[in-house]
């Protein structure tokens, strides 16, 4: 199990135990973490699973495809260096202990 802490826009934190192999988006939904809409449920077609990953640990994540890169420019909230579509990031041991901050809006 991989521990991931989600931080809501109001600062509240919640740690979940994610299952390797799921995407971060799937792990969040399976634990009813609020703040991720995921309308297309992982097809990289909606950008409503936007999240800010811990910036000093981005290297451990799946590489970003061009499609995701393009979609991120249109997320409802500002894009930052830690921005990813959480449906495109697989849960692996490299994420253990990571914090993921959710945007104000999807």
């Amino acid at each position: 199990m991989v521990r991931i802490t989600f931080i809501q826009p109001d600062g509240s934190r919640r740690e979940i135990e994610a299952e390797p192999g799921d995407s971060v988006m799937q792990a969040a939904l399976a634990h009813n973490v609020e703040g991720i809409t995921a309308e297309c449920n992982g097809s990289a077609a909606c950008a409503t699973c936007h999240a800010y990953f811990q910036e000093d640990r981005l290297g451990g994540l799946d590489a970003m495809a061009e499609h995701e890169n393009d979609m991120l420019d249109f997320a409802a909230c500002e894009r930052r260096s830690g921005s990813r579509l959480s449906c495109q990031v697989k849960v692996t041991d490299a994420l253990d202990g990571m914090t993921v901050t959710l945007p104000e809006m999807q």
Binding site: N32, S43, D73, F74
Partner: protein
Amino acid sequence: MANDPIIIIGAGQCGQKATETLRQQGYEGGLVLIGDEPHAPYQRPPLSKAFLKGEMSLERLMLKGPDYFDQFNIDARLSRWVESIDPAGRRVLLHGGESVAYSKLLLATGTRSRKIPVLPGLDLEGVHYMRTIADVQAIMQALKPETRIAIIGGGYIGLEVASALRSFKHDVTVIEGMERVLQRVVCPQLSDYFHRLHSSRGVAIHVNAVLEAIEGAGRVERIRLRDGQEIDTDMVLMAVGAEPVCELAEQAGLTIENGVSTDETCRTSDPNIYAAGDCSSFFSKRYQRHIRLESVQNAIDQGKHAAGAMLGSAEVYDPVPWFWSDQYEIKLQIAGLSQGYDRTEVEGDETEDAFAVRYFAGDRLLCVDAVNMPRAHMMARRELANLD
């Protein structure tokens, strides 16, 4: 009566979103969600994509985690069928005799696979549909490595299934009754593009091909077309579209027009009954007519809107419709509705598999179909939202 619960009929994506929104907006009263499927609300799009390919578990189809109903204090009645509504007495009658009173009622009854009314052979073993988890489980159970499949209908679902099954090298035939695949939704150039894509992956596509009969002794052995052609097959998938589930509304005397008719606030002709999602036909200011959408976008957004409306909001529902379809490695994203276009413009390069078709009526942009071009899609959504 005001103390009676809000009842939502249909535990699909729309019904689920409505329950969540009601609670998020502070509604603390009774909330009953009734659905006839045995599953908690789940997403249908992967049924013809990742789930069919065995890449996604049943658990991951679910829209919410297992403790959702408890957490949100929802009285969920699954595997229950609603027989009828009594709008005057404000009650719904469940199969088995139980009747439950409501303060407000939301119809989120969705669509069902369209059935061709008189087609010889429809009852044979080996004839399948693609709407529910049960449908897909039946298909997966019946599929052997050598199974040949004939897909009736070259719409999005038919073509997605073709692409999923080709990844297992099944022998796949698509039978399309019209001149071209996806004819109702995209322009000829895109139909050609997808036709060629599927042909190049080994799918046999027959256009202008009308299915006349499914034949076999007890189980499917072949299909026969109107022109006399016979095609041997082991399985038939009927993917000829969906129809709104509106018998409850009809029997309750609500106005029906290609779906349960609502105004721009999701309210039906009965002030205590609302409708949203695939089953609802709502007045769109943007398109100046009643439209009925079958998409996740609409299930989610209209579910939210209807929830707000039941709590007294007068906000108008008039979305920019959008949709996506995944076939092989191609991502098609659609913004707007193309019906009524008189010309198109192409952006990007079809030979590079990255292009977008823009549909216009005169100067007015109606729709953009983007193939592997997410920027064009997202820009189009903004552009369409900003048109008055």
